[in-house]
């Protein structure tokens, strides 16, 4: 890795390990991974403080864009030549992410983080099932490393719409005891949704906890599935964020307290990781979407010669 070209102002913020900073960060690389982008940048304080499930807010210079964009942390390195680097994975689907997909090595980004709640780690020995949808798998690999380092068994379900949108096939296989892949169109692994294989995988792996990250409809389905199975579930949700720092109250999710009362909790500071069983999904706009069962399972029967041309 080349040495930084810029002499950057030091990060602003407190020295406490649990606090976020605002830092000028040099881009170390940007590469394609399937349809997604992986961006690496130098951010010593963020790398040192980050935990899986947390995110960073990156200022973008897209025309007329004012607000930062949140990105889940996909990995950090604290040691070796790459010490102090942070990776994020994203899909260029809006003007901010499109701009970010054009930054060059040595460009300087303005980044705030780490933000939000991390995935809680089990305090006793338990088998962990990690379920990722699309680029939502990225932070789960980071979490998986932590769990494996604790001596825990990790299994994964990795799903996406199509084969090319499955992220990190090799990482998933390397990390976990077993991996089940699912695609909506059956182009890779089992045809269907991650929840179609949830019950069987929980049974086969002896999972005592489920961690999930991906689109909200998937998280809803996984959460409801886990409640039915009686397995604790932690999900990292995606909500539209204004500030990412707890100031604007736009990114709320309804959470049911122990007393049954529902309150609106900020995804950016009280989440993004929530107990999936406590989210009042029926009070959100998150819908489950069509399930694969609703679609015809078998291709239509082929007509015979006789049916096509009549007896000749």
């Amino acid at each position: 890795m080349s040495s930084p070209r810029h002499r950057l102002a030091p990060a602003r913020g407190r020295t406490g390990a649990d606090t976020p900073v605002k830092a000028a960060c040099e881009v170390l690389g940007r590469r394609r991974q399937g349809p997604y982008w992986v961006l690496s940048f130098a951010a010593r304080e963020i790398a040192e403080r980050a935990r899986p499930g947390q995110f960073v807010e990156i200022a973008v210079d897209a025309p007329h864009s004012l607000l930062r964009r949140p990105f889940s942390i996909a990995g950090v390195s604290r040691q070796g030549v790459a010490a102090g680097t942070v990776d994020v994975v994203f899909d260029a689907h809006g003007p901010g992410t499109a701009w970010l997909s054009t930054v060059a090595t040595h460009d300087v980004l303005d980044i705030v983080g780490p933000l939000g709640t991390p995935f809680p780690l089990p305090q006793r020995k338990v088998n962990c099932l990690l379920i990722g949808g699309g680029y939502g798998s990225a932070p789960l690999f980071y979490l998986g490393e932590k769990l494996v380092a604790q001596g825990l068994r990790v299994d994964m379900i990795v799903g996406a719409a199509t084969e090319d949108r499955i992220l990190g096939t090799i990482e998933a296989k390397r990390l976990s005891a077993t991996v089940t892949f699912t695609t909506d169109d059956g182009s890779y692994g089992t045809r269907g949704r991650v929840t179609d294989v949830l019950a069987d995988t929980v049974a086969a792996t002896g999972a005592g906890v489920v961690y999930a990250c991906g689109p909200n409809p998937m998280l809803r389905a996984v959460s409801e599935g886990c409640v039915e199975l009686g397995v604790p579930v932690q999900v990292a949700v995606e909500e539209l964020m204004g500030c990412g720092i707890g100031a604007c109250f736009t990114c709320v999710m309804p959470l049911r307290g122990r007393d049954g009362e529902v309150t609106m909790r900020r995804t950016c500071i009280e989440g993004p990781v929530f107990n999936g069983a406590r989210i009042a999904w029926d009070e959100t706009r998150v819908r489950l979407g069509p399930t694969v069962e609703d679609e015809p399972d078998e291709p239509p029967a082929r007509p015979t010669d006789a049916e096509l041309w009549g007896e000749r």
């Binding site: 000028a24 200022a59 210079d61 897209a62 007329h64 004012l66 980004l109 204004g242 529902v262």
Partner: protein
């Protein structure tokens, strides 16, 4: 202008001005003495604790807290926000824990940290506003922490078909009289620009006992998703904020200051850089509130203070107070 990437870091700016340390940034807002003219805007700094993760929030001249209502408010369903060119649209629905919980949980923390607080009051009726003011006075009778009230008049009046208080001079005045009768601290009336004649509303609330004015709240707007045909916000309409509304805010401050030069004004709307603060001061504001820019840069307050100091030092301006109301009209 969006990201901070290309902005100079204040550490680098420091040193250019000869007498930075000698610039006097202190100001007075309706009897409230402030070390500098940069306040937070209501609803954009949460309770203060969130921002204290970044720096000691007692460094801020005064924190205008999120509007407090009599009862807890759950707020509106999501989506509550949409980004717009150089701004954002929001409809939060005044989510807050209610005055009792605020007094029990947020006030003690702010008091312990020595934060100067401007308590923003919201309500659905005159009685609501009064009740919140009474509860706040009871909680801090000596005004040790709560140094002023800001009455958020941009709320729908349930007793008048949901019409916004600030849209009708006589109704706005009625709220101010209600709060005035129990207030023990200076009281600012926060107005909306969505009226035909803001000077008429300003005059009515000042006559009713407001010690100063906050100008302006968000500007009503709408975004429609072109594909789905749905409004971007669950509430259909929302409040536009950020640099997009700055010229509107500066115009309102100037109009009101021109009509009533003796009335203290807290300018608010799209402040992002020191030169924006200067515009508001020149238009007639004694201080400014920074809202949406906090979302982009959590350090915006302290940064603006340093930039302002430099700007004044470079021009030999001894005190920011000498800038207030110094907008020079073109000759006819």
């Amino acid at each position: 202008m969006s990201s901070d990437v290309r902005r100079l870091d204040p550490a680098e700016v420091a040193g250019h001005g000869a007498d930075r340390a000698e610039v006097d940034l202190s100001t007075d807002l309706a009897g409230l003495a402030l070390p500098d003219p940069i306040l937070t805007a209501s609803g954009c700094f949460a309770s203060g604790r969130e921002m204290d993760r970044f720096y000691d929030v007692d460094r801020i001249a005064a924190v205008v807290v999120k509007s407090i209502t009599r009862e807890p408010r759950r707020g509106l369903p999501t989506p509550r926000m949409a980004e717009t060119p150089s701004g954002m649209l929001n409809a939060i629905g005044l989510q807050n824990p209610g005055v009792d919980a605020w007094v029990a949980h947020d006030l003690p923390w702010l008091a312990e940290r020595g934060v100067r607080v401007v308590a923003s009051i919201a309500g659905k009726s005159v009685a609501d506003y009064r009740a919140v003011a009474e509860a706040l006075r009871a909680a801090d009778p000596e005004a040790a922490t709560i140094r002023a009230f800001e009455v958020n008049l941009s709320c729908p009046n349930v007793e008048d078909r949901g019409l916004v208080f600030a849209c009708d001079p006589s109704v706005a005045a009625e709220v101010i009289r209600g709060v005035r009768s129990v207030a023990h601290v200076p009281m600012l009336a926060k107005l909306t620009s969505d009226v035909t004649d803001i000077v008429a509303v300003a005059r009515a609330v000042v006559e009713a006992g407001a010690d100063g004015l906050t100008l302006i709240n968000t500007v009503l707007g709408m975004v429609i998703d072109p594909e789905t045909g749905r409004p971007a916000l669950s509430n259909t309409y929302g409040g536009l904020s950020g640099p997009a509304i700055r010229p509107i805010a500066v115009r309102n401050v100037h109009q009101v200051h021109t009509a009533m030069p003796e009335v203290p004004i807290l300018g608010c709307g799209g402040v992002r850089e020191a030169t924006d603060v200067i515009q508001f001061l020149r238009a007639g504001a004694s201080a400014v509130s920074v809202g949406t820019s906090t979302f982009v840069d959590p350090f915006i307050g302290p940064t603006l203070v340093e930039e302002l100091r430099t700007w004044c030092a470079q021009r030999g301006i001894a005190t920011v107070r000498e800038l207030i109301g110094t907008c020079t009209p073109w000759e006819a």
